[in-house]
Symmetry: C4
Subunit: 126 residues, 4 copies
């Protein structure tokens, strides 16, 4: 393929979401966080929107971001502000939509105890 | 999509299941646990049933739960009681069935040693 | 579904394999290990064979096991003996074949340092 | 199948990439690293190329490697040199292409704190 072939899907879902409520270690590297990595291999910028789902309230969003052509964005849910920050220590889920194909992977770093722990999975390609 | 489009599958399988037998750290956050996250993006409540499979006995279940419309449930296997609790320190597997499409992700937190560890994966969409 | 519907695939691949070379903590729980979880939801016992692939030698196997009807097996690669044990501290991959559909998930516990770490993923359904 | 059946896909994507910037513990085992495991079950050597994508610069590559017939390669991104090393502490993504079918899994070991953490996922089969 050329370096500009779009790869992936327009919609992805992450059923597990949770930002641990506290941290140990230097920030920003070892702050407890939850990340959504979005890869756009195509020649056009991707308009991406995130919708968050909770256990006890209506969905929150959309959160809007751009992933430029031939770029990746490693987005920390911790940094989302508009329309509202993501509550800490609360379970959520996420649906990612893009106007061009992208690939989405979900990662968490949990540093609530002295040594951090990490986990990752491919998101569900809808 | 609208915020009410159902996403996912009716049936999912998790081959790896195990609730570690002990814990370090404050509960409930750092109790060793195994979680099944179920996202229902659709407009109708999901009737979900779990069946557990073991290495040395007949399947146990069904465990019944509801995931309301536009909600996620992060269910700890530790909390299952009916028809029977899930034994600790024993390997199991799980099949999740829903009457509407849902997305399922599997997560474990293991705090048997001083610093917890976490792992996650998308369940297998049947 | 009934409790006896076969779920999954006949063949799965795990590209990442590695049994850490040492451990901290009580055995068997906290021994560093690599596991292949095989779920057989069907009414007939599954005849399963594993073939291991290495970086510097010919494939090793087949390793044969049975997964009874409506059961799961959480197999530690550490315990494989016939036709040969799995070397420690060496990278490998694994192909799992079954005569009936099964679901396969891959997990590692690494306790080489003071607090163990775990990771998991769905295997690749061929 | 025979031991020589090719399994997998020609192209895979890993959206999450990051080599932690420092380490604790003996090298090479416990050096913080990011790995791409490539399994080639077929009868012919695989010509594999990696292209890396970043948040703030043009894609970097291709990195070329061979995976011999019936072999696996567990490639550390840390070891890539040509056309350029992979920067530490920087987010990236990766697209893997092969002229024959292969299976790809992504793994990280993070030993920035006293006890290492590991995570893994199947790559996205394009």
């Amino acid at each position: 393929m050329s370096n500009e072939t779009p790869i992936g899907r327009h919609r992805w879902a992450i059923a597990e979401g949770y930002i641990p409520g506290w941290s140990n270690g230097p920030e920003p590297e070892l702050q407890s966080h939850e990340t959504c990595c979005v890869l756009n291999t195509g020649p056009n910028s991707a308009k991406v929107s995130l919708m968050l789902y909770f256990e006890d309230r209506e969905p929150q969003g959309p959160y809007l971001l751009a992933v430029p052509a031939r770029r990746t964005v490693h987005l920390r849910f911790n940094d989302l502000q508009d329309p509202a920050p993501v509550p800490r220590g609360v379970g959520f889920s996420c649906v990612v939509e893009s106007d061009v194909p992208v690939v989405v992977q979900h990662t968490r770093l949990d540093s609530r105890q002295a040594a951090n722990s990490i986990m990752t999975t491919l998101a569900y390609p809808v």
